[in-house]
């Protein structure tokens, strides 16, 4: 009976399904002799595939952050699919096993975004490591699919930061790629009006940032499933990352009226440097609020206003805004290696013996003490720099005392 309904759907719908499940295309091949039979067959097949994929979806409960794995596949030197030479059979690509159906569809519809997303992820990881370089948890990443380790399956502040910075990284990177011209479907084109159509000529279009946010939302959020507290918290933190990119943008203006006067003025928003986004998110990390599941979410189904939502654990605190990071679990102390939380501990970390802060040996080594050794360091000195790429330097060797946590 569903097949009948499906038969009434327009062509676009079929294309959607056909493209969504590459397996099927291979099963069917290209024998478009008798469209009616084919359509019927496809209908039946789709039913089957839909049922199957829904089953597999319910089995794979926790996909959250699975897509981060693409960063390691990309760094292995594999050529990423979807370059502007033409569509590449996506089934063959190992990175796509990590992606959900919806994510794959986005990648297919917007050639070039996979590279952009990967780059965004890389800069997010770099920024995360930089922001946390002096803390016990220094944003460790590993090979394989579990890029950030087990910390992501928890709900502590660090988890919140990882979700926010990766989401911000994707938004930032996609917006950047748009203005570089490496994603064709940006700005005007996603309105499906054709090249150089009336839109661009009539009112112009420069929504690179909007497109970045749209892709960020669609792509990143779609790896979250469920209705539990963790789901809500992750979504909130993803949103916070995107919002931070938006709010860190700065307006610049240019006057170009009569004789260059300001009677005519055009302004535009400038994408912030990613460091600024990282700084802002780090501030939010320090002021993150602990949240719980809202109470009135228990009697579900009574009305739409009862949709599950977050509220601060301490009722006297204000509701977290869309730019605040939220968490629901106390952070582990990250001192000793732990299999359960997946933290490597601080043994072997370099610390600063004079600092009283988090990077000081006392705090960083969790009171276990540290060993000091003299090390010869060769540094470049008396350099002349060019604006890029070229430095002429002398080598200077100095002896430094290095402190290492026990």
């Amino acid at each position: 009976m569903y097949a009948k309904e499906y038969l009434n759907k327009p062509d676009a719908f079929w294309k959607e399904i056909l493209l969504t499940n590459e397996v099927k295309i291979e099963l069917f091949g290209h024998n478009d002799q008798d469209m009616k039979i084919l359509t019927f067959l496809v209908g039946l097949k789709t039913l089957w595939v839909l049922a199957f994929s829904s089953l597999s979806n319910t089995m794979a409960v926790n996909n959250s952050g699975k897509w981060w794995g693409i960063v390691n596949i990309a760094s292995n030197g594999n050529v990423l699919p979807g370059t502007d030479i033409g569509p590449v059979p996506l089934v063959l690509d190992p990175s796509l096993q990590l992606l959900s159906r919806r994510q794959r569809r986005l990648i297919r519809q917007n050639p070039g975004i996979l590279q952009s997303i990967t780059r965004g992820l890389l800069s997010a990881i770099r920024e995360c490591k930089w922001q946390f370089r002096n803390r016990r948890w220094n944003c460790p990443t590993g090979p394989g699919n579990q890029v950030f380790g087990k910390i992501i399956s928890r709900g502590c502040r660090e988890t919140a930061f990882v979700f926010a910075i990766t989401s911000a990284g994707v938004t930032h990177s996609v917006a950047r790629s748009c203005s570089e011209g490496s994603i064709e479907s940006c700005s005007c084109d996603y309105r499906r009006r054709g090249p150089g159509g009336p839109d661009w000529h009539w009112g112009g279009c420069s929504d690179n940032i909007e497109f970045g946010r749209f892709i960020g939302k669609e792509f990143v959020d779609s790896s979250e499933r469920g209705r539990d507290l963790k789901y809500l918290v992750n979504l909130h933190n993803n949103q916070a990352g995107r919002m931070t990119v938006m709010t860190e943008m700065r307006q610049e203006c240019k006057c170009h009226g009569m004789s260059g006067s300001c009677s005519l003025r055009t302004c535009w928003m400038r994408l912030p440097p990613f460091r600024a986004v990282g700084d802002a998110l780090k501030d939010r990390f320090d002021g993150a609020s602990k949240v719980t599941y809202s109470n009135n979410g228990s009697n579900r189904g009574s009305s739409r206003s009862d949709l599950p939502h977050l509220e601060p654990e301490n009722p006297s605190h204000a509701m977290p805004s869309s730019r605040d990071l939220v968490y629901f679990e106390k952070s582990p102390n990250f001192c000793s290696p732990s299999e359960k939380t997946g933290t490597p501990g601080t043994t072997g970390r370099i610390c600063n013996s004079t600092s009283l802060g988090l990077d000081g040996c006392e705090l960083l080594c969790c009171g276990r003490g540290y060993r000091s050794r003299a090390e010869k360091v060769t540094e470049r000195c008396h350099c002349t720099f060019h604006w890029c790429c070229h430095v002429t330097c002398l080598n200077c060797t100095t002896t430094q005392i290095v402190h290492e946590c026990l």
Binding site: L50, A51, W130, G181, R192, W200, C262, W387
Partner: protein, 544 residues
């Protein structure tokens, strides 16, 4: 059954997905439809330059154009960390920008194109921006009209721009890698957009000995922001001009016919109103239509000149209008009487004209030129602008003084009005009425213009009005433009001399006007042969 259920739930989700996507598309389309109704006057597009690597060593031979994307795209690097390992040097890097983006075309409807350069410079302790750093750019621009055509050079130049950057964090090792905040640098101004595709190639050549591009910090990215007029706005604007031209032209002809019907020669005030009409028509004339077909790069300059001419006329008109309503018994029917007020106008506008020729005039030859980039040029430009500003202040002082004098005379006359004979009284009442009337509408127009101007400066963007998204700026521009057209129209309509005689006044008034008064009237009134429309209105009012 269970499979049915799961299919159902899945289908629901699928539908939700589709709905989400649709709502997004619909959303953007809808907002776009409203944009269509009122597009912004100008658009900006931000282009991030692709860092191409020019593999040919020595850069000799025919200029080679490096394209950022597409089939013949250049060999490029992502970031400059890659470059060091690949033995690529600063002189091999070419920043390449293709305008517009993939799948879009430029069009003559965009009227002009300004390109602004933005540099992302990171702070490094040992590689920082020196004081008064100057960046030297080897810029080349090319165009083509078909994607398969070869590129044709449009302009090429070596330009210097001053880097004005600030670093807000303390300059410590911890803050390495943070970005400077740099002022935008004007790069190119094109007075017409005649081609479909443009390509900009920028090199930042480095020379150790000549100290070229040394001490400019570590450049991470180069952005080009392109500003052009929206095609939709151009169309609305053209339509408006095309509609306004005949209306002003017709009223001008009517006005001049009225004047020629008089037995006397036209007086100064009439001449200046007519001149104002001519300058308004000059602005209105939709010459821009030709820019669609012809590559007229001087349109920006021409627009400035037209606008300047209108301002000169308007300012002169206000002075003369005040003078002619002074109501003291002196003869003023010559422009030379007003030299004190006209000289600042002429001098100020000359200054602005020279400045404009130095900026936009030279840009016709070299689109990369800007008077502000050199110290001498910037001082010269500043001097011109300051002189023009002083002239404007002088002018407004004179104008205010004259308005004050007129009001003083009016209050003097008003006290003696009842004692006057009817014809004289009517005459003075008419003068007072029409002066006050013009004062009010002029002040209203000026106030509206100022308010609109300030609003456009303060609030960028649009204004939600119920469901409609109103583009404030374009509304303001068209509104102000229409308003001043209406102002000129009203001037010509209301201040046209009447060809009718005092006829009915005489019959009603009865009493003959003494010859002494008659004489006085002819000297003071600029329209001795008959009252204007307004005068007649005032007269009728007075009779009732």
């Amino acid at each position: 059954m269970s499979s049915d259920l799961s299919t159902l739930s899945l289908r629901k989700r699928e539908e939700k997905d589709m709905a989400d996507r649709h709502s997004w598309i619909l959303d953007s389309r809808e907002c776009h439809k409203l944009h269509c109704a009122a597009p912004k006057p100008t658009t900006s597009a931000d282009f991030l330059a692709v860092k191409c690597v020019d593999i040919r060593k020595g850069n000799h031979g025919a200029p080679k154009w490096l394209i950022p994307w597409g089939r013949d795209r250049c060999a490029s690097i992502r970031g400059f960390e890659e470059a060091a390992s690949q033995e690529i040097y600063a002189n091999d890097i070419v920043f390449s920008v293709h305008i517009p983006f993939q799948g879009q075309e430029m069009s003559p409807w965009f009227q002009f194109m300004l390109i602004i350069l933005q540099l992302d410079i990171a702070f490094k302790l040992n590689n920082y921006i020196e004081d008064n750093a100057i960046v030297t750019l080897d810029v080349a621009m090319a165009y083509r009209d078909e994607l398969s055509d070869p590129w044709t050079e449009l302009a090429r130049s070596v330009e210097q721009r001053k880097l004005q950057c600030a670093f807000h964090a303390p300059k410590t090792a911890d803050n390495q890698g943070r970005s400077y905040e740099c002022d935008v640098l004007p790069l190119i101004e094109l007075g017409s957009v005649a081609h479909k595709y443009y390509l900009v190639n920028i090199r930042l050549p480095v020379h150790n000995v000549k100290k070229i591009n040394m001490g400019i910090g570590e450049i991470n990215d180069l952005h080009l922001v392109t500003i052009f007029q929206n095609g939709g706005f151009t169309k609305v604007w053209f339509a408006m001009k095309t509609f306004l031209t005949p209306s002003i032209l017709i009223i001008m002809i009517w006005y001049w016919r009225r004047i020629t019907m008089m037995t006397r020669s036209p007086v100064l005030l009439e001449k200046i109103i007519f001149a104002l009409g001519i300058s308004m028509t000059f602005i209105n004339l939709p010459v821009e239509w030709f820019s669609i077909g012809f590559n007229w790069t001087w349109m920006l300059l021409f627009g400035d000149i037209r606008q300047g001419l209108f301002y000169v006329m308007l300012l002169s008109f206000w002075i003369i209008f005040c003078g002619e309503h002074m109501m003291d018994q002196s003869e003023r029917n010559r422009i030379s009487v007003y030299w004190k007020q006209v000289v600042p106008i002429a001098f100020g506008s000359c200054c602005l004209f020279i400045f404009d020729m130095c900026e936009r005039g030279v840009q016709l030859k070299n689109p990369f030129y800007s008077i502000w980039t050199t110290d001498v040029g910037a001082e010269l430009a500043m001097a011109f602008i300051i002189v023009a500003g002083i002239c404007a202040c002088l002018y407004f002082l004179f104008l205010c003084f004259m308005v004050y004098q007129v009001f003083r005379n009016i209050s003097g006359k008003q006290s003696s009005l009842p004692a006057m004979s009817k014809a004289r009284r009517l005459h003075y009442e008419g003068l007072i009425f029409r002066f006050k009337f013009l004062m009010i509408i002029t002040l209203a127009c000026a106030a509206l213009t100022t308010v609109f101007f300030i609003t456009t400066q303060v609030s960028e963007g649009n204004w939600k009005w119920g469901e409609y998204n109103i583009e404030l700026n374009s509304a303001f521009f068209t509104g102000i433009y229409g308003m001043w057209n209406l102002y000129v129209f009203a001037l010509m309509f209301l201040y046209a001399p009447s060809h009718k005689n005092y006829g009915d006044d005489q019959t009603n008034g009865g009493a003959a006007v003494s010859s002494a008064e008659e004489l006085q009237l002819t000297t003071t009134i600029t329209h001795a042969d008959g009252p204007t429309e307004l005068y007649r209105l005032a007269g009728k009012e007075a009779q009732e």
